[in-house]
C-alpha cells in the first residue's frame, strides 16, 4: 500500500525522459486549451503581450501621423482621444505588466530549480482572465467605443456626467479584470520563489533575478489594490450613482488621483525591477565576472520598493497641495535616484572589472544605458517642484516617460529576448538582421523622443490633436514622426528576424552563452518537466556551471529522479534555508481554468452592458466553480514521509503546516488588507478634504453594528474550534455550522445597516463610503461561507483528515481576518457621526 521506502535505481536518461514526459506533457490539438504547464502558459502570456505591444505601437504611430503636420486632419478629435488613451492603457496594462509576468512565469521555476509554478491552474486562469479582459478593451477599440479620457482616467471627466457612454466602463472593468489576474500572478510568484527553490538554495544563494522578482511581486501585492479600489469606487459611481468623486455631492476629484498614483508610481518600479533583474543576470555572463555588490543590490531594490510608495504626489505637483508637503515628495523623488545609481554603478563596475564579450544582447544593454540614463536625469529634473510646474503635462513629460519605460523595460526586454531565445525556441540568434534592427530602433527611438523634450519646453501640452504653424512646433513634430517611422521599421525588422530564426535558425547547443544560472541546465527547448531530477545547490545560484550539472540531472541523479503513482511531483523547501520540507504534487491539465475565466468574462460583460442580473448569475457560477475546482485537489489519503532520493524523505504538501495554499492566502490577505487600508484612507481623506459636507450625520443603529462584529467574532471562534475538533479526530461539522450561521447573521445585520444609512449613499459621499465599508464586511462574510461550503464538501469527499487539515486552517485565517477588518470597518462607520460633527459643515 505504501510507496516504496527507497526510490528505484537510476535509469537511462532517455527512459526517464519518456516517463516524465508522459506524466507532464500537455495534450495536443484542442487539449492544449487545458494546459496548465508554466512553460506553455508563460509562452502564451509573452506572445499575447507582444501582440498588444504591436497594437499599442501602431496606435502610437497613428498619433504621430496626426501630429506630423500642423492642423492634422488624419483623425477627428473623438478618434484621436480614443487612440492616445488606448496607446497608453494598452502599453501599460496589456503589454508591460503581463509581459513581466510572462517572463517570470516562464523563467522562475527553471532558474530556481522547480518543475512548475506553485498553482498551475491559477496560472492558467490568470492567463485567460488577462486574455479576455484585454480582448474586451481591443473589441471596444474596434467598435469605436474605446476609453477616451486619457489612460489615467481623471475624475470627474471619467464620471457619468462627462463620459456618458460605455467608454469609461470598458477601461474600469477591462483593466480591473487584468489587474486581478496580475494580483494572482503576484501571489503565485511570491509563493513560488519562497517555497519552490532547489534544495540547498537558501535565500542568500538565490539568483539575483529571484530577488528582483520577489520584491516586484511583493510590490504588486501592495500597489494594485489602491487602483482596484479606485476602479471599483468609480464604477459604483458610474453604475449606481454613489458619489465618491463628485464634488457637488461630497466627493472629491483628487481622491482618484491619490489612489491612482499610489498605484501608478510604484508601477514604474514594478516594470523596471524585473528588467533590472535581467540586466543583473546578463551583464555578469557577458562581462565574464560575477556581479559586483550582490548584497548592496538586494538592499537597493528593497529600498527602492519602499521609496516608490512614498513619492506618488510628484504626479500632482500642480494640483494646489501646500508647498511644504511638495518639498517632502520632491526630496523623496530625488532620493529614489540613489538605489538606481547603486545598481547602475554595480553594473558598470561588473563590466569594468570583467572581460566583456560584445555579443548581440549587449547591444540592447548599451541601448538601455543610453536611454535609461537620460530618462533618469529628466526624472530628477521633474522632481524639482518649480520646474515641474512648467514641464508637467507637456511633451517634456511625454519624452521623459518614454525614455524611462523604453530604457527600463523595452531595451532590457529585447536584450532578454535575444539572450533567452535559444531556451524559448531551441535556436540560436544570428546577428544578420538583429543588428540593423537594433540600430533602427535605437536611432528611431531617440529621434522621436529626444526632440519632444524641446517641443514640451516650447509649450506643447500633451493630448492635443493639432496645433498651429505659428506655435513653432512644426519642425520638431515632423522630426518626431519621422523618427517614429524609423523605429517602426526597426521593430518590423525585429519581427521578421524572429520569424526567420524560428523557422530557419541554427539549432542551438546546450548552454550557448556559458551562463551561470540553472535554466540552462536542461535540454533546448526545455521539456515540460524542466528537470529530470532536481539539483542540490551547494554554491551561489548565480555561479552555477549549468553545462556541467545538466547530464547528471538528466540521468536522474538529483532529487525526484524517478516517477511515482504518475504524480507530477516537485519539491518545496523551507523559506529561508532551502531545506526540502515537502513533496508538492501538482494538478493535471484541466479545462476548468478556461471555463472559470469564461464565466468571469461573462460576469464582466454583463456588468458592462448593465445586465446586472446576468452578471450576478455569472458571478455565482464563478463562485460555484471555485468551490468545485477545490473539490478534487490534494491527496485522498495520508501518506506520511515520501522518499525523494539521496536518503531523504519528506511528507507530501497535503500533510505539512507550511503548505503552498496557506502562504498564498497569507499574501492574498496582504493585498486585501492594502485594499482595505486604501478604503479607510479614502474615507478619512474625503472627511478632511472634500467639499460640500454636512454638519452632522445621524448615527447608525448601534445594536446592529455591535451584533455584526459579535457575529464575526463568533464565526472566527467556531472556525478555531472546528480545527481543534478535526485534529482531535472528532467531527468538526457542528462548529462549522455555527460559523456559517454567524456569518449569515452578520450579512443580514450589515445589509440592514446599509439600507438605513443616512445620508442615502446615492445622495452624499458620506453615505456612499459608509456603505462600501459595510459592503466590504458583507463580501468577506460571503466568501467565508464559500470557504465553509468547500470545507464541508471536501470533508465528505475524504480530502480532509486530521493530518490533512490545511482547508480548515485556511478558513480559520480568512475568518480571523474578516473579524479584525470587520471590527475596524464597523468602528469607523460608528465614528463617522462624531468625526463629521468635529469638522462641521463646509460648502
Amino acid at each position: 500500500m505504501n510507496a516504496p521506502a527507497e526510490p528505484p535505481p537510476p535509469r537511462s536518461a532517455l527512459r526517464l525522459h519518456r516517463e516524465l514526459s508522459a506524466i507532464w506533457g500537455s495534450g495536443t490539438g484542442w487539449q492544449r486549451l487545458a494546459s496548465v504547464n508554466h512553460s506553455v502558459i508563460g509562452r502564451r502570456i509573452m506572445a499575447t503581450a507582444f501582440f498588444f505591444f504591436i497594437v499599442a505601437g501602431l496606435l502610437g504611430m497613428l498619433t504621430r501621423v496626426q501630429l506630423a503636420t500642423p492642423k492634422g486632419m488624419f483623425m477627428d478629435a473623438g478618434t484621436y482621444n480614443q487612440v492616445f488613451t488606448m496607446h497608453g492603457a494598452m502599453m501599460l496594462f496589456l503589454f508591460a505588466i503581463p509581459m513581466l509576468e510572462g517572463v517570470a512565469v516562464y523563467l522562475l521555476p527553471k532558474m530556481l530549480g522547480a518543475r512548475d509554478f506553485a498553482f498551475p491552474r491559477l496560472t492558467a486562469y490568470s492567463y485567460w482572465c488577462y486574455l479576455f479582459g484585454a480582448s474586451i478593451l481591443l473589441g471596444s477599440l474596434l467598435l469605436g467605443v474605446a476609453p477616451d479620457g486619457g489612460w489615467f482616467m481623471y475624475t470627474p471627466l471619467s464620471s457619468n456626467t462627462y463620459t456618458p457612454g460605455v467608454n469609461a466602463d470598458v477601461w474600469l472593468l477591462g483593466v480591473t479584470f487584468v489587474e486581478i489576474s496580475a494580483l494572482s500572478f503576484a501571489v503565485e510568484i511570491v509563493v513560488s520563489i519562497l517555497k519552490m527553490r532547489a534544495p540547498g538554495m537558501s535565500l542568500e544563494r538565490m539568483p539575483i533575478f529571484g530577488w528582483y522578482m520577489l520584491v516586484t511581486a511583493l510590490m504588486m501585492l501592495v500597489a494594485f489594490p489602491p487602483l482596484i479600489l479606485a476602479s471599483i469606487l468609480l464604477e459604483l459611481e458610474r453604475a449606481f450613482g454613489l458619489p465618491f468623486f463628485d464634488p457637488t455631492r461630497g466627493g472629491d476629484a483628487l481622491l482618484w488621483q491619490h489612489l491612482f498614483w499610489l498605484f501608478g508610481h510604484p508601477d514604474v518600479y514594478i516594470i523596471f525591477l524585473p528588467m533590472a533583474g535581467v540586466l543583473s543576470t546578463l551583464i555578469p555572463v557577458f562581462a565574464r565576472r560575477e556581479l559586483v555588490g550582490y548584497t548592496m543590490i538586494v538592499v537597493a531594490i528593497v529600498a527602492m520598493a519602499f521609496l516608490s510608495f512614498g513619492i506618488w504626489v510628484h504626479h500632482m505637483f500642480t494640483v494646489g497641495i501646500p508647498h511644504l508637503a511638495l518639498a517632502f515628495f520632491s526630496a523623496g523623488s530625488a532620493i529614489v535616484a540613489v538605489p538606481t545609481a547603486v545598481q547602475m554603478f554595480a553594473w558598470l563596475a561588473t563590466l569594468a572589472h570583467g572581460k566583456p564579450r560584445w555579443e548581440l544582447p549587449m547591444l540592447y544593454i548599451f541601448g538601455f544605458f543610453f536611454v535609461f540614463v537620460l530618462g533618469g536625469l529628466t526624472g530628477v529634473m521633474l522632481a524639482i517642484v518649480p520646474f515641474d510646474w512648467q514641464a508637467h503635462d507637456s511633451y517634456f513629460v511625454v519624452a521623459h516617460l518614454h525614455y524611462v519605460v523604453a530604457g527600463a523595460f523595452a531595451f532590457p526586454l529585447l536584450a532578454a529576448l535575444y539572450y533567452w531565445l535559444p531556451l524559448l525556441t531551441g535556436r540560436s540568434a544570428s546577428p544578420r538582421l538583429a543588428v540593423p534592427a537594433f540600430w533602427l530602433i535605437f536611432v528611431g527611438f531617440n529621434l522621436t523622443f529626444f526632440v519632444m523634450h524641446l517641443t514640451g519646453l516650447l509649450g506643447m501640452p500633451r493630448r492635443i490633436y493639432g496645433y498651429h504653424e505659428h506655435d513653432g512646433w512644426t519642425a520638431l513634430n515632423l522630426l518626431s514622426s519621422v523618427g517614429a517611422f524609423v523605429m517602426t521599421i526597426g521593430f518590423g525588422l525585429l519581427v521578421i528576424d524572429l520569424l526567420v530564426q524560428l523557422r530557419y535558425g541554427r539549432r542551438s547547443r546546450r548552454d550557448p552563452w556559458r551562463a551561470t544560472t540553472l535554466e540552462w541546465a536542461m535540454p533546448l527547448p526545455p521539456p515540460a518537466y524542466n528537470f529530470a531530477s532536481i539539483p542540490h545547490i551547494d554554491t551561489h545560484g548565480d555561479r552555477m556551471a549549468p553545462g556541467h550539472v545538466a547530464p547528471a540531472l538528466a540521468r536522474g541523479e538529483g532529487y525526484l529522479g524517478f516517477t511515482r503513482h504518475g504524480w507530477q511531483e516537485t519539491l518545496g523547501v523551507h523559506m529561508t534555508s532551502g531545506v526540502p520540507d515537502q513533496v508538492i504534487v501538482l494538478p493535471r491539465p484541466t479545462y476548468l481554468p478556461l471555463i472559470l475565466a469564461l464565466s468571469t468574462a461573462a460576469a464582466v460583460l454583463g456588468f458592462l452592458f448593465k445586465a446586472y442580473l446576468l452578471s450576478a448569475a455569472a458571478a455565482g457560477i464563478v463562485a460555484a466553480l471555485f468551490v468545485y475546482g477545490a473539490m478534487g485537489s490534494g491527496l485522498k489519503r495520508d501518506h506520511g514521509p515520501l522518499p525523494i532520493g539521496h536518503g531523504l524523505s519528506v511528507p507530501p504538501h497535503t500533510e505539512v503546516v507550511g503548505a503552498l495554499p496557506w502562504w498564498a492566502l497569507v499574501f492574498a490577505l496582504v493585498a486585501d488588507a492594502t485594499l482595505f487600508t486604501s478604503l479607510v484612507f479614502g474615507t478619512l481623506y474625503l472627511w478632511i478634504a472634500a467639499p460640500a459636507w454636512p454638519a452632522s450625520m445621524p448615527p447608525p443603529d448601534l445594536g446592529l453594528a455591535v451584533g455584526a462584529v459579535v457575529a464575526l467574532a463568533v464565526a472566527a471562534f467556531a472556525a478555531r474550534r472546528s480545527l481543534h475538533a478535526l485534529r482531535a479526530e472528532a467531527a468538526p461539522q457542528r462548529w462549522m455550522a455555527l460559523a456559517a450561521l454567524a456569518l449569515f447573521g452578520c450579512i443580514a445585520a450589515v445589509l440592514t445597516l446599509i439600507g438605513a444609512l443616512l445620508p442615502h449613499p446615492q445622495e452624499h459621499a458620506l453615505g456612499a463610503t459608509a456603505s462600501v465599508l459595510l459592503g466590504y464586511i458583507a463580501a468577506h462574510a460571503g466568501i467565508g461561507l464559500l470557504f465553509l461550503l468547500s470545507n464541508l464538501l471536501r470533508l465528505r469527499g475524504g480530502w480532509v483528515s486530521a493530518r490533512r487539515c490545511t482547508d480548515l486552517r485556511l478558513t480559520r485565517l480568512w475568518l480571523d481576518y474578516s473579524a479584525v477588518s470587520g471590527a475596524i470597518a464597523i468602528g469607523l462607520v460608528l465614528a463617522l457621526p462624531s468625526l463629521v460633527a468635529m469638522l462641521g459643515a463646509r460648502s
Binding site: T318, A331, A349, A352, P356, H392, D393, S394
Partner: protein
C-alpha cells in the same frame, strides 16, 4: 545661451522665452539642470565606453568603491544642492499671504475661459486675459465642470483648475504685449481648442483698456 533663446527657443508658448519673473526663474533652473545632466550623462556613457574600449580599465578601483562613489557619493553631491535650490526657488514663487496683489478670478468651463476683475468693478472678459505689466497678480481659478489647468508658459508655471476647489497662482508679466495661454490638463473632446489670449497693458493704461473691451457684468446676465 541668449542666442539659443533667440533662435530656437522663442515662440508664443515657449517656457524658454520668459517674460515674467516666475517663468524666468524656472528657465534659469532648466539651463542649470541641463548643463549638470550633460556632465552626468557623459560621465556614465564614458565609463561604459571605456569598459568596451579598454577592457579591465576599472580594476584598479575596488568594486565596492565603484558602487559607493557612483551610487552614494555622486547622487548626494548632485541632489542635495539641487533639491535645496529647487525648494528655495519654489518658495519665492508662491502666493504668500504677506502681500495682497490684485486678484483676477478665472472660471474654466469646457471649453472656454472667463476672467473676472473684482478690482476693476467686476468687469469680465471671455477668452482674453488682460493683465497690468510689472506688477504681481493673483490668478484665482475655479472650474464649473472637470479638471482643467491654466498655463501661460511665458509668464509662469501651470496651476490645476479643480471643481470644488479654489487654487491661486501668482504671476507677473514684465512687459506689455500679447501672450498665449492654454489648458494643460486633458478635459475632453475639444481640449486642444481651449486656449486664450493674454494681453498685457502698461499699468497706466490698464483700467481704461479693460473697460474699453469688457462689457459690464450686468449687461452680460
Amino acid at each position: 545661451m541668449s542666442l539659443l533663446v533667440l533662435t530656437g527657443c522663442s515662440g508664443q508658448l515657449s517656457t524658454l522665452d520668459p517674460s515674467g519673473p516666475a517663468a524666468a526663474s524656472i528657465a534659469r533652473l532648466w539651463w542649470v539642470m541641463l548643463a549638470g545632466s550633460m556632465v552626468l550623462f557623459v560621465l556614465v556613457m564614458g565609463l561604459f565606453a571605456l569598459a568596451w574600449l579598454r577592457p579591465g580599465f576599472g580594476s584598479s578601483v575596488p568594486p565596492q568603491r565603484w558602487v559607493l562613489l557612483g551610487g552614494l557619493a555622486l547622487p548626494a553631491v548632485v541632489l542635495i544642492p539641487l533639491v535645496g535650490y529647487g525648494l528655495a526657488a519654489g518658495e519665492r514663487l508662491l502666493p504668500l499671504p504677506f502681500m495682497t496683489p490684485p486678484r483676477i478670478e478665472v472660471q474654466a468651463e469646457r471649453w472656454r475661459w472667463t476672467f473676472r476683475y473684482p478690482d476693476q468693478g467686476g468687469l469680465a472678459t471671455e477668452g482674453v486675459l488682460h493683465l497690468p505689466a510689472g506688477t504681481p497678480v493673483d490668478i484665482v481659478v475655479s472650474s464649473r465642470d472637470v479638471i482643467h489647468s491654466l498655463w501661460i508658459p511665458r509668464l509662469a508655471g501651470k496651476i490645476d483648475v479643480i471643481p470644488g476647489r479654489i487654487n491661486t497662482l501668482r504671476l507677473q508679466a514684465d512687459a506689455p504685449g500679447r501672450y498665449q495661454g492654454q489648458c494643460a490638463e486633458f478635459c475632453g473632446q475639444e481640449h486642444t481648442r481651449m486656449r486664450f489670449d493674454v494681453v498685457v497693458h502698461a499699468q497706466a493704461d490698464y483700467a481704461a483698456a479693460l473697460s474699453a473691451v469688457a462689457p459690464r457684468p450686468e449687461s452680460k446676465q
